[in-house]
């Protein structure tokens, strides 16, 4: 398998993510209705549709940074909820990290994810354990970094990262929410899986599914 992620692959990743979210929109909204305001599924679906239509139109720039920037701006400009600026910032910071290049190696991709994560931390002022998307995002990024550091193959590292995101997602259930709308529930937020962590797990599963050769469209 190739260890290089080019523009086309990244594009596939984003489009795959959009499709997966649309498929899980009802579940995401259902989770948000338990501890939020029942719109995470529709918020993301709306935003990702806007993103996909930017990616799909002929003017998509050929290099990675600008493409991710357009994607992030599309989200920011169409969601309106908390998740819009957060996911938007994630892609915008990835864009800055990647810059005007045509392909990313594993370490550059991990660095871009790390930059995205730092952006979400800075934007949302939440920390691990607050029962937010960070509880999937942080383990996903850290696991990818660790696996690459240990010299494991790229494909394996991506899968480990997606697994970690899903484990992190599951771990949000017993947490008490301290950020976002769910925090108003206090104790009553315990026992529900966080919708944002759920969508973030989809993002990393989509990465594993699209960035590993021959695994697209599985």
């Amino acid at each position: 398998m190739s260890e290089i992620v080019d523009v086309t692959t990244l594009r596939s990743w984003l489009i795959r993510f959009a499709g997966d979210v649309e498929e899980h929109a009802a579940q995401l909204t259902e989770l948000d209705s338990a501890i939020g305001d029942a719109d995470h599924g529709s918020n993301l679906t709306r935003g990702l549709k806007a993103m996909v239509s930017v990616l799909a139109d002929g003017t998509t720039p050929p290099s990675i940074g600008p493409m991710l920037k357009q994607s992030g701006m599309a989200l920011v400009s169409s969601v309106g909820g908390a998740s819009g600026p957060l996911y938007g910032t994630f892609f915008l910071r990835m864009a800055t990290s990647a810059g005007e290049c045509d392909a990313l190696g594993p370490d550059s991709l991990a660095a871009a994810f790390r930059a995205g994560l730092e952006g979400v931390l800075a934007r949302g002022q939440a920390v691990a354990g607050d029962k937010t998307m960070l509880d999937a995002l942080i383990p996903a990024v850290e696991t990818l970094e660790a696996a690459l550091n240990e010299g494991r193959p790229f494909g394996e590292a991506l899968k480990a990262s997606a697994d970690a995101a899903e484990a992190g997602r599951d771990a949000t259930t017993p947490m008490l929410a301290r950020k976002g709308r769910a925090s108003y529930l206090g104790e009553r937020s315990v026992g529900h899986q966080d919708p944002g962590a759920t969508s973030t797990a989809l993002l990393f599963r989509a990465a594993a599914n699209t960035m590993i050769d021959g695994e697209d469209n599985q």
Binding site: D37, A38, D39, S42, N43, V76, S77, S78, V79, G80, G81, A82, G84, P85, L86, G88, T89, R123, G124, D130, R178, K179, G180, R181, S183, Y184, L185, G186, R188
Partner: protein, 333 residues
């Protein structure tokens, strides 16, 4: 769901269209869902911008006009507007004197306004000072949480900072008025029924016939607790006691007392509640120097009310009495 609407998806734009038709003194940008005072930007004046999810009318669009907001931005129902809208509004009201954003403390609003301020500064060099309101004592405040929600104080802050801007005060002083108002104001609400989000089609939460939700937010967020329906006299206590526990409102130059309707509670009840609140404040040694009673910050068709107290000094009372000319608040003009 029983509402005077067409398709749920069109509610916000169609309501803005009606607002525009009813108030030729406003300029309404339906594409960006922004309500402007017709003469914005006002030369030399600091501009005031607020906004948030729709469903709280007259907040914010009904508070655009002389002595209050220069622009209000409408998001979808209960959904924050996006940065692009905020940037557009900010750009169009800035006269060079800078822009104050008044933002209710909800993660979505805070993040979207924050990005907007960054973009506005970066793209246009406009100086934006954002001030967040977070006056809802129903929510336990903490450094480590999303913090209190911004509710009733926002109405008072828009009026008072609007007067300060109209009086020619500079950017930081106008922003300071919002900060002072927020620091000295506290609110608490009660819902007797749940509102219905048009797109959802059914009430956000179930509230059985004999119960009410104390400490409810303005989007149907749960409150501190659900208790049996009680007489207005007791409800006044349930709302006021946590407010008075949180901040000392006695002494000083007195307070502005604000009894706000949540959308489906008629004026006859709001005045009755105000009578109970006023009586209780007198007993508690709190001197009311100004008052406001009516549905000013609603939560769609929620039945219920909120109470806001604001400690004032001479300066704030003068700003309160200053002329204001908006669809939702009007005096002295």
């Amino acid at each position: 769901m029983k509402k005077l609407i067409n398709a749920p998806a069109d509610v916000v734009v169609e309501s803005l269209r009606g607002l525009a038709a009813a108030h030729p003194g406003l300029r309404v940008d339906l594409e960006h869902r922004i309500i402007y005072r017709a003469d914005a930007p006002v030369p030399g004046k600091v501009a005031l911008v607020s906004g948030g999810g729709s469903g709280h009318e007259p907040l914010h669009g009904g508070f655009v006009g002389r002595g209050m907001l220069d622009a209000a931005i409408a998001g979808e129902v209960f959904t924050s507007p996006v940065p692009g809208q905020v940037v557009e509004a900010t750009r169009n009201v800035d006269s060079g004197a800078g822009v104050v954003h008044i933002v209710k403390n909800y993660t979505g609003d805070v993040l979207n306004f924050e990005m907007a301020a960054e973009i506005a500064l970066e793209e246009t060099g406009i100086e934006v000072v954002a001030v967040i309101t977070d006056d809802d004592v129903a929510v336990q405040d903490s450094l480590y949480t999303a913090g209190r929600r911004g509710v009733g104080v926002t109405v008072l802050a828009e009026k008072l900072a609007g007067a300060a801007a109209e009086a020619g005060r500079p950017l930081q002083q106008v922003a300071d008025v919002v900060r002072r108002v927020n620091a000295n104001g506290r609110s608490m609400g009660v819902a007797l029924t749940s509102g219905t989000v048009p797109a959802a089609g059914r009430p956000t939460f179930d509230l059985p016939e004999g119960e009410m939700e104390i400490g409810v937010g303005i989007h149907g967020e749960p409150g501190r607790r659900r208790v049996p329906l009680a007489p207005a006299r007791q409800v006044a206590g349930l709302l006021l006691d946590p407010i008075l526990d949180d901040l000392d409102f006695t002494g000083g130059d007195g307070v502005i007392a604000f009894v706000n309707g949540l959308g489906a509670t008629p004026l006859i009840e709001l005045y009755l509640m105000y009578g109970e609140v006023a009586a209780r404040l007198e007993k508690a040694g709190v001197r009311v120097v100004r008052s406001l009673v009516g549905p000013y910050l609603t939560s769609l068709d929620t039945a219920g009310c909120s109470v806001t107290l604001l400690k004032v000094d001479d300066d704030l009372v003068r700003l309160w009495d200053a002329p204001v000319n908006t669809p939702g608040l009007r005096w002295g003009v």
